[in-house]
Symmetry: none
Subunit: 91 residues, 2 copies
């Protein structure tokens, strides 16, 4: 889980919220909590769960899409791609 220091320091000390969220989502995918070929919670739901704006959600999701870990179907949802599709740029 992610702990934000809401109201206090910000992304200055550590990294941006969207980067932390992307890491959290990635862990959920790699751990199997978000299963391959299955949909993850909607952006609205992720908003609620993590208490961040859609900006942050969309940045994080967009990052994983670029990594080939997630696939977006407009009007439908966002699903997990199987590992053979991943192209991890490293970090």
């Amino acid at each position: 889980m992610i702990e934000w220091d809401r109201g206090e320091p910000v992304w200055a000390e550590d990294s941006a919220k969207w980067k932390q969220l992307a890491q959290e989502l990635r862990e959920r995918i790699e751990s199997g909590r978000y299963r391959s070929r299955k949909r993850i919670p909607s952006q609205r739901q992720l908003e609620q769960e993590f208490g961040v704006s859609r900006d942050v959600i969309r940045q994080a999701v967009g990052h994983l899409v670029a990594m080939g870990m997630l696939k977006i179907d407009p009007g439908v949802g966002t699903s997990v791609l199987p590992p053979e599709n991943w192209r991890l740029p490293e970090e």
Copy 2:
């Protein structure tokens, strides 16, 4: 207190602008002009009002944040903390 002349602030020569501004903001907080738990004008608005750069605004605000008189919520604004949060280092 900052003096005003024809709508323009008059800055003292012997003190940094940010310190004078910090003192001004502090007085506005202690006088109740900036009310507890309410947001103060945005940095951009303060820029306009005092005719200084954001550098100066941020230095002054940062000073009051360190004193526990202001709280910054990125993407939201800056608000006044109640007196019980203040930790005045002296001066």
